[in-house]
């Protein structure tokens, strides 16, 4: 009887404690200074643009641009890393209806580099999205993972990141950079 009650108590506690995410990831949204601070990463969106052409460069050389019939959401962002090295390769745009778009992987678009703790990297994430899913989309950085294993369970999230985005004919991301976190 007592054990049954214990199991029931555990069941009730499980039901009344909502999980923030199916995978147990906790999200951290920006404060007044614009930084969304998770325990291992802090993210600030510097600018957002919409375009149908992203120009790419490799050093001094120009590469073929990428184009789309949909729209590219181009996010310039800064990421301050704490705790341990982060690959910063899991940047996604989540539409208002819950669809997840990972950043385009082609080179020469200023993707964030692997970054050690104590350093801040500046880079660009490019997402190809149907135009009707741009409004209200959120930017999520992480959670970081090693294969199937989720390493960090906290991820910065910037809601409604596309609000005020500027429409441009084309966009040329700057080369990524890293500096000591000030």
């Amino acid at each position: 009887m007592a054990l049954v009650l214990c199991v029931l108590l555990a069941g009730v506690l499980t039901l009344v404690t909502p999980e923030p995410d199916p995978f147990g990831v906790r999200y951290y949204e920006p404060g007044r200074d614009g930084w969304a601070r998770a325990p291992e990463l802090a993210v600030k969106v510097e600018s957002v643009a919409l375009t149908q052409q992203v120009n790419r460069t490799a050093g001094k050389f120009e590469m073929d641009p990428i184009t789309t019939d949909a729209v590219f959401v181009v996010v310039d962002l800064s990421v301050a890393v704490r705790g341990r090295v982060s690959t910063l390769d899991r940047v996604s745009l989540v539409s208002a209806d819950g669809r997840t778009y990972l950043q385009r992987r082609e080179g020469g678009m200023g993707q964030l580099p692997m970054t050690d703790p104590g350093f801040t990297s500046h880079g660009t994430a490019v997402f190809e999205v149907p135009r009707d899913r741009v409004a209200g989309a959120s930017l999520v950085v992480g959670p970081d993972s090693r294969g199937f294993v989720v390493v960090f369970r906290g991820a910065p999230r910037v809601p409604d990141v596309t609000r005020g985005a500027v429409e441009r004919d084309s966009y040329a991301p700057a080369a990524p950079s890293t500096e000591v976190t000030r």
């Binding site: 007592a2 050690d116 703790p117 104590g118 350093f119 000591v180 000030r182």
Partner: protein, 176 residues
Amino acid sequence: MTRRSYVAFALALAFALAVAIGVGAVHLIRLNPPPAGTLSPGDSVTVGKVDLAYGSWTTTETIKGPKKDLPARDGAVWVIVTSQVGLHDDAVIREAACEATLVSRGERWRATREPLSALDLKNVTTDCNRTQEGKAATPGWRGEVTFYFHVPADRVDNAIVVVDFYATGDEVVIDR
């Protein structure tokens, strides 16, 4: 419910709590095993069939290569820790496998190799599997190993280096 039921319930709850605390404690112990040794400069320790000797700890703003130099970023420094690794005659190669991590204020930096390769340094190694001459670890082998860390300058004070040995799960703390 009768009084007996309440007592049974309390006992069951206490038992469940004790199990949870016990499991948690075991988990924590497993996550934080005591180090196999803490080394000051000149010290050495034997971990399984591997000898690890701590040579020196230096900090520099630029690593000098034969053709070009590799400066640390503005506000950062290079921490260079030299050590000597020896594998016993009756050991197997995998026992030399280890990885070094600099730990400061709860943050962790892996020993780095990639940027160093651009310097064309012949004697770069950042793990215990090879000597600085590039020879693979073999039984009876002894060689110099240097760990390079690129860290913000304000993290150097009170930093330690933790060397994890994969074969045994042991770790050794190198304390400046």
